[in-house]
Symmetry: D2
Subunit: 415 residues, 4 copies
């Protein structure tokens, strides 16, 4: 799986600075490229309620453009199929009733070809939109939404294929090299008053604002992610059997679910988008839950960072660096000195509104605010995050027991 030289990455996507119409074409094209390795059957199955079929991602991202842009702003537009909005609305209550999420895997029809025709139809109409600022804002939102689903498409199909005893590959792995890692090295921060949240320049999701100041105590942040080797040591030391290391909910969860290793680990191998592959000791550990991340940090004598600490530290880092998604290949964490990339990083912060946060009006306002309970903040980006999508103020969030995203651990400590 290792190669000696790291290939130059040739992004398929237009960079964030590119004209919007170019970005629209390139981002939509990347989604299509991501399903190219999949059969109609691959694109249809749903492995759990949390995940969606690849076909559904294709259609739902298209429904978003069709509904909030074409239907609402292009008077002559006719719906591609009047029955499909019921199928491809995800959770927008304001948009009416919708198909039950756990039943998405029953949609053998429409076929993958039908859904690709839907995409072509909507893409063709998007080309005809007038050049108006409020439409540009909606398109930008639609593109960022689509990038999120690109990542989900990859993590969802990885999960689905992992349940097939034949361990089929999505694609061959992106070539990558893994550098040997040494002892943990720390970057110190002196704390104090820090500006947090998005200041209003460029696109951001509503949950990233309003910008505001917070007080941070001095802390240090690890210069790299926790590796598979270190995780194996945690296991060998009885990490999953010692209740003193675990949050109470986490201890209940690992015992109820018989969790004894990261998701996808099988002996000395792990299921990847390229099928079963040997574990790379120096690669960042991925597919761990918040509970596991927290227990590991306790075992290591450290802790997880808060989202504010992480964001304060990120000011000095390039959010487009590290291992992120550039093209439709099998992606996998490889490790890098960047604060971003490889794995989303669990923080010790709950997903809560910033002071004076107000959701946007209308259905689009359901995007983030209503999920602000029971979830944890993750920062950074993963190998499946389209490069250019994340930033220092980005607030990713998942429930503490979820593991099917590329989620890993960066340690912090008080100084």
């Amino acid at each position: 799986m290792e190669t000696t030289t790291r290939r130059q990455q040739t992004p398929v996507s237009a960079p964030p600075a590119a004209p919007l119409a170019d970005r629209l074409r390139s981002i939509r094209a990347l989604t299509r490229a991501l399903v190219a390795p999949l059969s109609d059957a691959d694109a249809t199955i749903q492995s759990m309620a949390d995940a969606s079929p690849a076909k559904w991602h294709l259609a739902h991202t298209t429904w978003f453009f069709e509904t909030f842009i074409l239907r609402d702003h292009l008077p002559e537009y006719r719906l591609f199929d009047a029955e499909w909005p019921f199928l491809f609305n995800s959770y927008y209550e304001a948009e009416g009733p919708r198909h039950a999420r756990p039943m998405r895997g029953m949609l053998s029809r429409p076929s993958l070809d039908d859904v690709l025709a839907y995409r072509a139809h909507v893409d063709a109409h998007l080309e005809r939109l007038p050049d108006r600022p409020e439409l540009a804002a909606l398109i930008e939102l639609g593109l960022n939404h689509e990038q999120q689903h690109q990542e989900l498409l990859l993590t969802d199909i990885k999960h689905a294929l992992s349940l097939n005893p034949l361990a089929p590959a999505y694609a061959s792995l992106s070539p990558f090299s893994i550098e040997p890692t040494g002892a943990m090295d720390w970057e110190c921060h002196e704390g104090g008053r820090h500006r947090i949240g998005h200041d209003g320049t460029g696109f951001a999701f509503d949950n990233e604002g309003p910008a505001h100041d917070v007080l941070i105590e001095p802390f240090a942040l690890a210069r790299r992610l926790v590796t598979n080797r270190e995780w194996a040591e945690f296991i060998a030391d009885g990490g999953y059997r010692n209740p003193a290391l675990w949050l109470s909910d986490g201890w209940a969860w690992i015992n109820a679910e018989a969790i004894r290793a990261p998701l996808y680990w099988q002996d000395n191998a792990a299921f990847t988008l390229a099928g079963l592959q040997p574990l790379q000791p120096d690669a960042p550990v991925a597919h761990v839950s918040f509970y596991e991340a927290d227990a590991f940090a306790t075992w290591a004598g450290h802790r997880l960072p808060t989202e504010f600490e992480w964001e304060a530290a990120a000011a000095a880092h390039d959010s487009a660096g590290g291992t992120q998604l550039d093209e439709a290949v099998g992606v996998h964490p490889a490790g890098s000195p960047s604060l971003f990339g490889d794995c989303w990083q669990w923080t010790r912060s709950a997903y809560l509104p910033y002071p004076r946060f107000r959701p946007a009006a209308g259905a689009v306002g359901e995007y983030n605010g209503k999920f602000m309970s029971g979830q944890c903040i993750l920062k950074g980006a993963s190998c499946a995050t389209p490069r250019g999508h994340s930033r220092a103020t980005y607030r990713n969030f998942f429930p503490p027991e979820k593991r099917w995203q590329f989620t890993g651990v960066r340690l912090a400590k008080d100084i």
Copy 2:
């Protein structure tokens, strides 16, 4: 949906009396024909643990021939794929571990084409078998097994497609006419000592024997099945709200599951293999559970027959009559004067071993005996039963709450 003339049925299958090799070819061909309307995605999805993907039925029936005949009796035979037996063994403990039943819908790979290649491979080897009596017996068992899966394939895909809000059709309906029905008419039987079970001539499953005598009281059996019109009257009369009509388990079940009509009913229509179609008042009601059948009989002032009464009455009937499966079209109950066909008929008999019953030795012995608890006997045949498969001694069985088979009601009464 009605047509004025009933088309002559041209059976694809060779009749039971045909040479075994011809029957092998024609029955295997019918299975292939049954999946012709399905896409790879259609053939992959699994709607519930009780049902299996169409692709799985194709492969499992082939695994049966590969395992019990080719592997065991054709020395030079090599498995088509050494990993597939794990996937396509259904429940034969003696054949080793196997894929969990509720996960069959995750098998986007192998593809439908791969599975059809598997069938072709096994069919080609079956042509090379020597002409030995013990092989003939196993082939006969394999063919009867395959016919059972033909019926399940149709009922399983019907269930899966019914969960798609688009109500897609499997195929256009088999043309059929529905005769107006009048008041219930009864055929009387004087009771006495009756020979029950299979006497050993021709193929039968092990659960149909040993033949033995039973005593039967005088009784009458309805000359036709209960119709949709009668069922609508039962509903209108509060049948689903009156606990006095129901077995205690049935009352708990309809309330826990919010059952208020037969499966697939939606207002005045019903989902069929041809999509949503208007309810036919004179057609036999289908897709009711044993609990519903029993409650209806109580409401009607009658009862369900025992399996012995039904079998005694069947002596005078042609088991190949009535609405049964002849070719790969959408099937649907139409009604007929035959005791067989349209819908399997719930009896008041539990599925228990006959006196001196002993399962066969080896894995094939797991076929029937181990299911002899918690299930009810059904007699007759349905519109999805391959014509020629059933007979008077046939003992079909399902748990009392299952409804996705074509299951209906024939009333009985004491005289």
Copy 3:
């Protein structure tokens, strides 16, 4: 636990032949005696939905007399408390809504003393009833109903106390001796036409009739129950790990519930009504499910009897023999040559209506008929069955996975 001489049993109950008024007093008195060892708290707790608190049994049996006799037939009678019928109706839909069964353990009020006052009140009014035949029949039904609850009271409190880690005793054990057992000995029956069911002389439940003839093949029935020693051999031989021995539902059940021994076994001891006691190798095994009984029989190369075989054999036995309940002490299977007593015996028969069975009209008709699905017939009587309550035609019934009754195994075989 063993004593050298078996004490003469002095029945508290008046024998079935005694005048009804005497039997009423003595049976009601035995129920009171059975709760004498219990505190208010003991009598309040409910260990599972299947079981009821002792206090509830006291009140429910009294409600039965109050409702169906005093309220309906004693014009001046006033309900002891107008709110209590809601609490103490068990399952009679015709008697209106009622307290949810799994919530019976929440009734810390009324207190045990309040309930005993209720019993005294109803008993006093029962003394004033006119001497009318239809009342005698209802009283007889009420007494037989109360005897059933005497047995349930003992098995329910045993289950509840077993969940207390202190393993508290209900009472000291009834003194008993256990005879050494030898190899299994068989009693042969030639089969033929047998009269089954109750002929109408003396009390019987409605499910015991109508009497009718059945045909039975020649068979042999074991002269004693399966012992703890034999069960330990079954375990040692891997009986709980070999799927070939089990019905499919049973195999799923033991694995889902991690069943590896009879209920109440802990190493070489078992929880009894007298607390934890050493296992007696020669005593009949108790607290096994139908699934376990069937698997054991298969392992032993034999089978369970049908209810008809058992009843045919019982013609030659005294139904008041063997280890049955005579007084309020801790009861426990000890073994005896009687066909009756020690443990109820699982049969291979499902609980179904006899030919021409019709439930009685009104609420009392809900007594038996509505449970005729999903349950198995047990014959005989147990150490907790009030002596005189059972008879050859008695049809006890429980679901196949239940184990908290004194249920054991008598083997049968074809000859």
Copy 4:
């Protein structure tokens, strides 16, 4: 239920400033007084896994003193019963295995009298302790722990009695008057840098520290709690049917559980510790979940406060004010101008560690830290909180869907 004059409260407890030995006696005495109205059966039952039997609270608080003080620090001490620690350890993993929480309601033995004897035994030994500072700290912890269980004892028995259809009373209500409420009035705060957390003077739980500064934006806090009248308006306005008002998890929860009103509401009445009582429109609403509190605040156009806002505002308030627990009577929210009392107040803050928080070493360190996920902070105190137990820095916490505590709503808004 209303009375015209509010009776002078005569606290049973010694005030926090009293000598420790006096406080020990008075707090332990209040616990005994709280169970005086309960029978052995009342004190035994457990209504849900979240709640514990009153008897268990009595024993567990005693176990805490026995284990961490007598056993560890009084050399001659012998355990009252060597088997009881297994029963009465709550969740301290370091103290070894323990009885499963949902099974606490099976402990009909030991009896209430036995448990009171255990308390007397331990109390007698506590009198003999030497006067050492580290023991004083443990006693103080034990007393604060016991006060928490006093509140739980009341809320748990309220829940248990509420499930009895007879709606029995725990005790007569504490006499109280309810003042008419007017429009919502607001107290403004200018925000800025605030000191948060406990500074080390007097007792506090570990989760209240370390003290640290936070930045707060200007805000206003309501001068009173939301009332039953306002909640009824929320219901009448369709509050429970409008998804736009709810967090996504909350919307799923109210629909799954069919929640349409606060816990214990029945038409215009509510179940109280004094049985069913008419709803008091001007009394604070109680027994609402975080989800409901948040939805109400959204409906009202406001929001919940953060824990920091609440604590900053509390600097000006007496934490011993308002409706809190003084003696063993039925308690109920009555309303008061105090920031404390009546109901615990849900905040918008997740229960997370303060910067540089470290749990204490040993079993006592399991007290708080391990619950820091998935829970919400509540501030203030309730009518069931022993007066003197709470303070401005106190961090109560419960999962967002729990309602059986006296939990209510104080609104906040941005200014």
